[in-house]
Structure formats: structure tokens, C-alpha cells
Amino acid sequence: MRSKVLIASLVIACIICVVGVIGVFRNVEAGSASAPGIIAIRPTLANGNARFTAADVRAYFQAHPTPPQMSLAPGHTAKILSIDFITSKEASQRMKGESVGLPDNALVCYVQLSGPFLLGMISRPPGTKPIPPSDTATVVFDAQTGNILVSGTP
């Protein structure tokens, strides 16, 4: 009986050893890529071209008053100027040709905010002039996932 338990323990140890070696060399399959964009609005609608509403957008900015990487100029409060569910192509045109990253006919939620905003963590190359504060900012959400695809200033 004891020898059977000993053999079983040896087998288990060998299995764990093999799996551990696999883990060390990262041969473990690691899933598929996440949807593009910054996780932001959790979809509230089960289906449809847009899976969240303008009210969801307002709720998001209630909790996150500024676009990613931006801060408000002191003494100011961010305001939503507009919330538009439009095509990716139209959103790109509104941003003077800035790419959205989705097919032209994909639906996005285009939000304009008033600040003024200071551009934070914008990965400015060293020695370049700071980008001046901007009165407005734009955030583009994927209308299906609620993720932020683009944020920026005019």
C-alpha cells in the first residue's frame, strides 16, 4: 500500500515538473487579443449598431471628467459639447482625416468636450515644444465595445 502511494506521488511530481518546465519556457497558449481601445463604457444594450446610449456616455464622463492623458486647467470644469453616433469615416473627416481604426461604415460614438485641457502623458519627444492647452478635446468610442479608440485635440 505504501509503495503504491509512493509511486503515485512520484508520478504526480513528474507531471508537475513537466508542466512547470512548459510554463517557464512560456509554451502555454495565452489566449487571443483583446478588442482594440481603452476599456471604458460597458455596453448596456444586448444588440444593435450601438450597444450603449448617450446617457451611458454622460455617466462615463461623470466618473472620468477628462479624456485619457489629459487634465483640466485649474479652476475649470469639463463639459460635454456633443455626443454623436456616426460612421468611422465621418468621425475621421471631423478630425481632419485622423484615422479611427475601423472600417468606414463602422459606427462610433464621437464626443466633443470643452475644457480647457492640458495634454498629459502625450509622449512628446524630448526637447520638443509643449503642446499648448486646448479649449476642446475629442474622444471616439467604438459603438460596439464601448472602448476608447482615439482621444485628442484639434
Binding site: V19, A35, S99, S123, R124
Partner: protein
């Protein structure tokens, strides 16, 4: 008997626990320790850098940025490449970022541009997944036409691409390295930025063969040539890390 039954089971149990610990460590994305306090400015100004750069008219550039468990702490950190115009006023950039309030400070692929008359805009992938780590992300920016750039960043599983239109002309600066902002919490284990190449006007790719001079180096952001382009056949290896948290 030299080994009693009880002693054998005890030894095997210890070995099993050790191997389980190795397994868990093996599949987890590596994380460096948090950095001590530092002074790398606020969200806008006075960031810390470990950046080198080549100058000269090109049609594009690419590099491979190591995918490791970086964290941005209270502000953020990027490991990336910039392509700039001759005045260093406009640029396109691409790489890996980890920032507070961005995908839970998980490394994320990004690209951004600052265009003449077009403002500044950031673009983000989803967060890297565990299979992306321990490898590198091929990061490429190339000119298409006179003022349009194609951008692509390809990690083993997560890929991201975009187009910068109505952008600047005559790119003549290729900068690579790390940017750090904030005052605490960021960590970057040594990340190699390797296989540095530039694209000529007729579609030919060339490895960098000169040691790009330092553009900016501010502690705790640290960078060093792990392999100099002048002594490498594959464009060198500019390694970056944070002193006290990864270096």
C-alpha cells in the same frame, strides 16, 4: 531503511510545491518592483527620458521593442519609436505604453501623431495578453505618398495599425527609447529596443550602423547600448529600464 515512507512523502511534497511555484512564475507576465520616488514632472512637462536618435532624411523606420511587464505607476511610461520632421515640431510615434487609468496600467500598444493643423491624437490597442510577453513588438512607421504614414505594431498575439494622414513631409529624425512621467510607482525591467532599421526612398531597408547619439537621458530613466549598431550586424540594442525598479 535509509528513507522511510513518511520521509519520502515529505520530500516529494516539498518538491511538488517548489515545482508548482516555478510553474506559476513561468506563466505570469514578469513584473518589476515599483520604483522609489522620483521627479519626472507632471502630466505635461519635464518628463524623464532615455532616448537616442538618428538624423537624416528617410522614408520610414522600424524596430523591435521588448514586451515585458512594465507599469506606469502614478502617471505613465512608454517604450517607443518616434519619426520626426526636421524642426522636431511634428511627429508620428508608436510603441508600448503603461499608464494610470489606461487598461488598469496594463501594457498597451499605441500610436500617436502631432500633425500640422491637425492637432495631437492618441490611438490605443487593447491590453497585451499573457502570450505577448517575453517576446518583442515589431514597430514600424513608413511614409506612403508625401505626407501619409502607415503605422503598425505587432506583438505575438496583439497587433495594432493605423494611418496618419495630412501629416508632415520629409521625416528626418528616428528616435527610440523610453519616456517616464510622474513621481512614483513606475517600473521597467530592462527592455531591449533592437533590430533598428531605416527605409530609403526606393523601398530598401537598412540596419542602422552608427551609434545614435543620446537625445535625452534623465534619471531614473536609464538607457545604454547593450549592443552598439556600429558593432552589430542587426542595428544594435538600446536597452532601457528604470533605476531602482528593473535596472
Amino acid at each position: 531503511m535509509l528513507f522511510t515512507y513518511k520521509r519520502s512523502v515529505t520530500y516529494l511534497t516539498v518538491i511538488a510545491i517548489l515545482l508548482l511555484a516555478i510553474f506559476i512564475q513561468g506563466i505570469a507576465p514578469p513584473k518589476a518592483m515599483a520604483a522609489p520616488l522620483y521627479s519626472c514632472g507632471d502630466l505635461q512637462n519635464n518628463h524623464c527620458y532615455a532616448v537616442v536618435g538618428w538624423s537624416g532624411l528617410v522614408n520610414g523606420a522600424d524596430t523591435r521593442i521588448g514586451t515585458r511587464g512594465i507599469t506606469g505607476g502614478g502617471c505613465g511610461v512608454n517604450t517607443e519609436m518616434w519619426l520626426l520632421d526636421s524642426t522636431s515640431t511634428y511627429w508620428v510615434e508608436a510603441g508600448i505604453t503603461a499608464q494610470i487609468n489606461l487598461n488598469n496600467n496594463t501594457p498597451t500598444l499605441f500610436w500617436a501623431d502631432n500633425r500640422p493643423g491637425g492637432g495631437f491624437h492618441n490611438h490605443f490597442s487593447g491590453p497585451l495578453v499573457s502570450g505577448d510577453y517575453g517576446a518583442n513588438a515589431l514597430t514600424r512607421i513608413t511614409l506612403s505618398g508625401s505626407n501619409t504614414y502607415n503605422i503598425s505594431i505587432s506583438a505575438p498575439i496583439t497587433n495594432f495599425s493605423g494611418v496618419s494622414t495630412n501629416s508632415f513631409v520629409n521625416p528626418d529624425g528616428i528616435w527610440i527609447g523610453m519616456e517616464l512621467c510622474g513621481s512614483q510607482g513606475a517600473s521597467v525591467p530592462p527592455v531591449g529596443i533592437t533590430n533598428n532599421r531605416w527605409l530609403d526612398g526606393v523601398g530598401g531597408w537598412h540596419y542602422q550602423t552608427t551609434d545614435a547619439p543620446v537625445i535625452s537621458l534623465n534619471s531614473p530613466a536609464n538607457g545604454y547600448w547593450f549592443a552598439r549598431p556600429s558593432q552589430s550586424s542587426t542595428g544594435g540594442d538600446w536597452s532601457v529600464c528604470i533605476i531602482g525598479a528593473g535596472c
